[in-house]
């Protein structure tokens, strides 16, 4: 569908009339646009996608060590391959932004998981996670990444799988930060086009679905 068709569609509807309905008593005369403070930033057209890339960026919630640890960890969880990874996507900066606005129990849970990683690292390799050699970091993550019980972490299996729980907590934050970024959205195939054509569905013969 082309842009011109879209515009034509809008013009033939009665929509424009309803929108500009001037509205009698409750509103100032002639006012049709909604008051800006009753629109969300997105509805006002605010584009916040470049905010985190500011050269003057400083963490709002994390301290420097925690932030650096998160950068190292995000690069290991979702590395750059033929496509950029979580470090390029500034996953740490988004996580910091959200943490700064969250309730204290959520903040504490995140810091506990980050501290668990450092604690295990110091216990096993005698230094904090971000200072380890890459192969030791990999070794440690591998020991935490897979559930010891049934496959798939349900969020309820604390106890013996404490380490895996902390790993998943950090991993889920990093994954959301990555896949919701512009880089991550492109990783999933998005190319900025909103006109995808008609949903085609299945046209296979019975027995040949794939």
């Amino acid at each position: 569908m082309k842009r011109r068709e879209l515009l034509r569609g809008a013009a033939v509807t009665g929509a424009a009339a309803a929108l500009s309905v001037s509205v009698a008593a409750g509103q100032k005369s002639g006012q049709s646009a909604p008051p800006p403070d009753e629109l969300t930033p997105a509805q006002r057209g605010v584009d916040a996608s470049k905010d985190l890339a500011s050269p003057n960026w400083k963490p709002l919630f994390l301290d420097e060590h925690q932030n650096e640890t998160l950068v190292v960890l995000s690069d290991l969880i979702i590395p750059a391959t033929e496509t950029p990874g979580a470090k390029d996507a500034l996953a740490n900066r988004y996580i910091d932004l959200v943490l700064a606005a969250e309730a204290s129990d959520r903040q504490r849970a995140f810091l506990n998981s980050l501290a668990y990683l450092d604690g295990e690292s110091i216990h096993r390799y005698k230094n904090a996670f971000r200072y380890l050699a890459r192969e030791d970091q990999d070794d440690l993550l591998h020991s935490l990444a897979y559930s010891k019980g049934a496959s798939g972490w349900t969020g309820e299996a604390a106890g013996p799988d404490t380490g895996h729980g902390h790993f998943e907590n950090l991993k889920q934050r990093i994954m959301f930060a990555y896949y919701s970024s512009e880089i991550g959205t492109r990783e999933l195939g998005w190319d900025g086009n909103v006109m995808h054509g008609v949903y085609q569905g299945c046209d296979h013969e019975e027995g040949s679905h794939k």
Binding site: E5, A16, V23, A24, I77, T81, Y179, L188, G197
Partner: protein, 565 residues
């Protein structure tokens, strides 16, 4: 731009009809009455809405918090329980801090509300199904509750009118529980859905059909066919899904017989007690808090079931001391909301499609019409009535993939082919499920707020248990693996299908409204939203609400023509 300039103060005249609420039903009432030549005032508690504020094409990364905004959590903790309330559009939803209601501590209820022109029609789920006489006459068939005072034949012509105008895409199935309608071409099914449909039909004889949705599959009355961008609840620049501001309300305005008054928070209906007639409504200006009155020959409440009932309960007079039009005592009683929480999901490992964010996003899924306690099935020993499923099958990104590193990145993109069904079950009409005025609680406009008291009962829980095992059985037939059952009974309100509280009936001692949505006690007062439902059936109710409103308006127009108002 067309401007509707009034020569006179819109509050100085007496309208033929005052319509309170501009959503799915209020839009229809305004359209039908104004196009018939009546002078209509359409009151909306919120502001006007413009397509310039639609965000369906805005990618999430442009949002500062990518839908984790602390402002939404702070001001809309209840509204956020619905997926449709997002960082994109939360200003359309009421601010929970300004719009309180109470519940008993052990009876949580979630109440989703929009105050903006068009109301919930801006964000609704769009599934549109007819009820049948299995629903309208259910009490006669199984002995529970009351029949509706109308039958399918009474409503069928009005379903036709609504469907032809709204544009419902769907497939005719000739199903005993789900009458066919006036359909635009159906949307397509995925391979997994076709597989499920064929296996379930062959082995169980049940129908699986594509959802019947108010989303256009071809251009229709000046609105464009869907372009499959996905998130309808953020608005639609091509007006491809039905919402009232850009259809019915626009028609009403274009008739030059309808005055739209936004920011009018209606507190109560005014009565002329000498004639026992409604004389208009009083509202509080949302922004200035000035109290104003609109006069009308008829008053039509379309504010949604609970809000319309709240207005009536707040309209007590000496003659109507327990709420207006409540001589039966049934006002506020028989609150219903479809029970949800039963279903199953799994994977179809043999399907090899990979997900891609750049492909058409179909704003629709499957529908499985009710197959329990139907004329052609055995009576179920565990429960009465039944449920329908919504669901679907298709490739999804695997965000729960194990591990980390390159393999994780690949696994996410590889995806999984998921399949799932979730039930909407009938909510039985029960006297004890009710709303009343909380004398200690007022909203930000000083209007007494509601106390809502509702639980789902044993029958609803049994429906969800059965819905879980039946869904698993059907998914297994399609070859699904890793099937997970879910048989919760979700909190009432979660379906966002509030119904009842001003039920219709032939007996004024047992019902609030007559079969034309007119109050038994006050002849020029009407409630034309979901409050009139006698039973909930299990189908999504908006289509039926709209058809009832159009039917009631046709009757009212006849009465105006014969000077019987």
């Amino acid at each position: 731009m067309i401007w509707n300039i009034f020569d006179q103060d819109p509050l100085s005249q007496t309208y033929d009809a005052i319509v309170v609420g501009s959503g799915a039903t209020g839009g229809w009432a305004a359209k039908q009455l104004s196009e018939a030549g009546l002078k209509v005032a359409l009151l909306e508690a919120g502001r006007a809405v413009s397509p310039t504020e639609f965000t369906e094409h805005t990618p999430e990364f442009k949002l500062k918090y990518r839908d984790h905004s602390p402002e939404v959590i702070r001001t809309r903790p209840i509204q956020k329980q619905c997926y449709a309330c997002m960082e994109y559009n939360y200003e359309w939803f009421v601010n929970d801090l300004e719009n309180p209601y109470s519940t008993p501590a052990d009876k949580p209820f979630t109440w989703q509300r929009l105050r903006v022109l068009g109301g919930r029609s801006l964000v609704w789920g769009r599934h549109s199904y007819r009820l049948s006489d299995n629903d309208f006459k259910a009490a006669s068939r199984d002995g529970y509750g009351d029949d509706w005072p109308i039958s399918y034949a009474d409503l069928a012509p009005f379903y036709d009118i609504v469907e032809k105008y709204v544009g419902i895409s769907g497939a005719a199935e000739g199903h005993e529980m789900l009458p066919d309608g006036q359909f635009l071409p159906p949307m397509k099914m995925s391979c997994g859905e076709v597989l499920l449909r064929d296996k379930v039909k062959a082995r169980l004889g049940r129908t699986v059909t594509i959802g019947r949705v108010a989303v256009l599959t071809q251009n229709h009355h000046g609105r464009l066919a869907c372009h499959y961008c996905g998130p309808c609840e953020r608005g639609c620049r091509t007006f491809s899904y039905f919402s009232s501001p850009f259809t019915t309300v626009a028609d009403a305005v274009n008739s030059h017989n309808c005055t739209v008054i936004t920011n009018a928070v209606v507190s109560h209906v005014n009565m002329d007690s000498s004639q026992n007639k409604a004389s208009g409504v009083t509202f509080v200006d949302r922004l200035t808090r000035q109290v104003k009155e609109v006069r009308g020959k008829t008053v039509i409440l379309c504010a949604q079931a609970l809000e319309s009932t709240r207005i009536l309960l707040n309209s007590s007079t000496r003659e109507h001391s327990n709420g207006l039009a409540n001589s039966s005592g049934a006002l506020g009683r028989y609150l219903m909301d479809h029970v949800t929480g039963g279903g199953a999901s799994g994977h179809l490992p043999e399907m090899k499609f990979r997900p891609n964010a750049n492909e058409p996003q179909r704003p629709n899924g499957l529908y499985v019409p009710r197959f329990r306690n139907t004329p052609s099935s055995k009576k179920n020993p565990q429960f009465i009535r039944g449920y329908g499923y919504q669901g679907g099958a298709g490739p999804q990104f695997d965000f729960s993939a194990e591990g980390y590193g390159t393999s994780l990145k690949n696994a996410v993109k590889q995806g999984v082919y998921s399949i799932g069904l979730g039930a909407f079950g009938e909510s039985l009409a029960r006297w004890d499920n009710c709303c009343e005025i909380d004398k200690n609680l007022k909203d930000a406009w000083g209007i007494p707020a509601l106390r809502i008291s509702m639980t789902h009962g044993d029958n609803e829980a049994a429906l969800m248990e059965d819905a879980a095992s039946s869904a698993a059985e059907m998914l297994e037939l399609a070859g699904a693996k890793d099937i997970k059952l879910q048989s919760r009974t979700e909190m009432p309100g979660m379906a966002i299908h509030e119904l009842g509280t001003a039920r219709m009936g032939d007996d004024p001692k047992k019902s609030v409204l007559d079969k034309f949505n007119q109050a038994h006690d006050v002849k020029n007062l009407f409630v034309m939203d979901g409050a009139s439902f006698v039973s909930s059936a299990c189908q999504n109710p908006t289509l039926t609400m709209m058809a009832l409103a159009v039917r009631a308006c046709s009757h009212l127009i006849e009465r105006f023509r014969s000077n019987d108002v």
